[in-house]
């Protein structure tokens, strides 16, 4: 660009004014470009701060009325105007934890298979299948969950869990019936299926960045595939893996429709993970449209604010872990 400008300036003649004007033009467009990008970037900040502030203002009546008790109460009674966030926070965290417990090891296992063990002929079809799964809209998982997966849970999986895990003294209460199909565990499992492709796709991509030299060296000193994965591949790529896990967790925490379909929407905390529950986003999706202005609406906004904070904490933790890893490495 500068080169053309110079040429033009020379072509225009030897008047010094023209030359400086010609040189000034790209400077002007450069400046304009810089400002445009700067404004676009600050828009993100403005939006973030704006959302946080408006959520906080909206939720202030609820926080003022219920105080810290709002976080610990599982009451949710619109006619009596008593609201608490505990049931929704609990459901959000437990469904996400269940999803992560399943999706992280399985997703990484698939990624290891694809990069280290898979016959080259199968690698592409499986890889494409995972990317397609990652692109399916969440409502489809919700419909699958409620029409196909939930009856299977009710008829087979939940009675089996109640008969085995539920019979163990002490932890049995965690797996108590009745088997209705709808519940926290069902929601967690559907979420696991939803975030599995994310974690798999990202793990596979980062596993592929491991230099072959490192792996060959490890194999050369007699390491097994398991040892190579455990001691070379995963340590080398842990930053990327954490990124993938956090992306999956982010989706699990905020997922709305698929969860609403299968979780049972009960605004209570139950000891059993087979029982019905709710999540922050499910509560808002179900009740926001017809909430009375006042405490009801404010409490729903407060739930939104809490989800905002939870997501923020998760991201901050991820950053902190990454920075610690970078210092070590």
């Amino acid at each position: 660009m500068t080169a053309t400008a110079l040429e033009n300036a020379q072509g225009a003649g030897s008047v010094p004014m023209d030359r400086s004007r010609a040189l000034g033009r790209p400077k002007l467009s450069d400046n304009g470009f810089r400002w445009m990008t700067f404004l676009s970037a600050s828009l993100v900040l403005i939006l973030l701060v704006g959302v946080a502030i408006s959520l906080f203002i909206g939720s202030w009546p609820a926080f003022r009325t219920f105080g810290f008790g709002f976080f610990f109460s599982d009451a949710w009674s619109p006619p009596k105007e008593r609201f608490g966030a505990a049931a929704a926070i609990y459901g959000t965290l437990v469904t996400s934890i269940i999803a992560m417990l399943i999706a992280v090891p399985v997703g990484m296992g698939i990624a290891v298979f694809l990069t280290e063990l898979c016959p080259p002929l199968l690698r592409r079809p499986i890889g494409v299948a995972i990317e397609l799964l990652a692109g399916i809209p969440s409502i489809i998982y919700g419909i699958w969950g409620v029409y196909y997966f939930r009856p299977v849970m009710q008829a087979y999986i939940q009675p089996f869990i109640m008969g085995t895990l539920g019979a163990i003294p002490g932890v049995g209460a965690l797996f108590a019936g009745p088997p209705l199909g709808y519940g926290v565990l069902t929601a967690g499992l559907v979420l696991a299926v939803m975030i599995l492709p994310f974690i798999t796709a990202i793990s596979r991509d980062v596993f592929e960045t491991v230099p072959n030299v490192l792996k060959e060296a490890a194999y050369g000193v007699g390491a097994t595939t398991f040892e190579v994965v455990g001691n070379v591949v995963i340590p080398y790529t842990r930053v990327g893996i954490i990124g993938g896990v956090m992306l999956g967790l982010g989706r699990a925490l905020g997922e709305t429709m698929a969860v609403t379909f299968v979780i049972g929407n009960a605004t209570k905390i139950s000891t059993s993970i087979l029982a019905q529950g709710t999540t922050i986003s499910a509560m808002i999706a179900n009740q926001f449209a017809d909430a009375d202005p006042g405490l009801f609406t404010s409490s729903l906004l407060a739930l939104g604010f809490i989800l905002f904070i939870i997501t923020f904490i998760v991201l901050a933790l991820a950053r902190w872990m990454l920075s610690r890893l970078e210092v070590k490495a």
């Binding site: 009596k80 409620v146 709710t278």
Partner: protein
């Protein structure tokens, strides 16, 4: 997530404002949606004017009309006279219908099962949890009831159907009244929440051992198994238009300020215990008088020519004397050109 829900709220709002000029816009109750849709279709064929009705729930309907985003709001939970006065709204009953308990039990057909109010309240309170409970057995000596957990299905959103249902439970069960009360959304002690009458119908249809409550038209359209009920007089009645009518006949609309009247648990040997009216809300001094006039023309059409269509869907048209009262109230209260 939040962004997504805000977006959906924006889409709902946009849908309302984008309704083109010729359309009458309304929002609210899902309970009367089948009949409003049918009336709107017939009205469009006759006059060319369409109706844009969003069945988003009674609570949302009240919210939308108070926000003045629609020309009329529809609710099954009537507003009290003082609330109407404070907000400058006119309220009238449009049509009546029945709420029926629906179940999903293998081998049990519509009308096989009988249930009474106190038992229904205990099921929804969570004190009766199995289909072979003695209380249900006592009412159904001839039915082979399975040893199966009851999957209680209720509404997750604010709902006029819930209002009428919980109002009935409060009338027949002191326990329900003191612990839960009646409202468009309550603190359910047990059960699975579903969105809309159609959501409850879907969940009941898909869940073995389920019980739910829906407007009769939804039970019929989705071919759900309904239960008969024991009414206030102790008689067992089936949900039929005659039973709904018997309950509606008791209503004394003339003595109800703002047409505030709830039809649940009426006396009479043939009365269906969970009968309900559904209401329309419009401003006495509308922002857009033309739109308001158009809406009133549509409602006049529904009253004058819609009775047969209502009966086809098992709704009960308002009696002629009530229609006369409503029209008199319109003329007296609503600003018209």
């Amino acid at each position: 997530m939040l962004i997504r829900s805000l977006m959906s709220a924006a889409i709902v709002a946009a849908g309302v404002s984008y309704a083109w000029a010729g359309d009458i816009s309304g929002a609210g109750a899902t309970f009367p949606f089948p009949i409003y849709a049918k009336w709107a279709d017939a009205y469009k064929t006759e006059t060319g004017n369409g109706l844009n009705y969003q069945s988003i729930g009674s609570g949302a309907g009240i919210k939308q009309i108070k926000a003045k985003t629609v020309t009329f709001g529809a609710t099954d939970a009537p507003l009290k006279a003082d609330d109407l006065a404070a907000s400058g709204l006119e309220q009238w009953p449009m049509v009546m219908g029945g709420i029926v308990p629906v179940v999903n039990l293998t081998g049990v057909k519509s009308g096989d099962l009988v249930i009474d109010g106190p038992t229904l309240a205990k099921i929804y309170l969570g004190t009766i949890t199995n289909w072979n409970d003695p209380a249900i057995k006592a009412l159904n000596a001839k039915v082979a009831l399975p040893d199966l957990a009851i999957a209680v299905i209720h509404r997750a959103d604010g709902s006029g159907t819930t209002f009428n249902f919980t109002d009935y439970l409060s009338k027949v069960s002191p326990d329900w009244q003191s612990k839960i009360g009646e409202s468009t959304s309550v603190e359910w002690p047990v059960g699975i929440g579903a969105k809309g009458n159609d959501g409850v119908a879907n969940n009941v249809a898909g869940t073995n051992g389920a019980i739910g409550y829906v407007e009769y038209a939804y039970a019929k359209q989705n071919k759900l198994t309904y239960a008969d009920m024991v009414n206030k007089d102790g008689k067992t009645v089936a949900p039929t238009i005659e039973a709904f009518q018997a309950a509606a006949a008791n209503a004394d609309w003339a003595k109800a300020p703002g047409f505030y009247l709830i039809l649940s648990d009426q006396a009479g040997a043939n009365s269906w215990p969970m009968t309900a009216a559904t209401f329309i809300l419009m401003y006495k001094k509308p922002v857009d008088v033309t739109a308001s006039n158009e809406a009133l023309k549509f409602f006049t059409y529904c009253y004058d020519k819609g009775a047969d269509q209502a009966k086809q869907l098992d709704y009960i048209p308002m009696p002629d004397n009530v229609i006369a009262m409503v029209k008199k109230a319109w003329a007296a209260d609503i600003v018209q050109k």
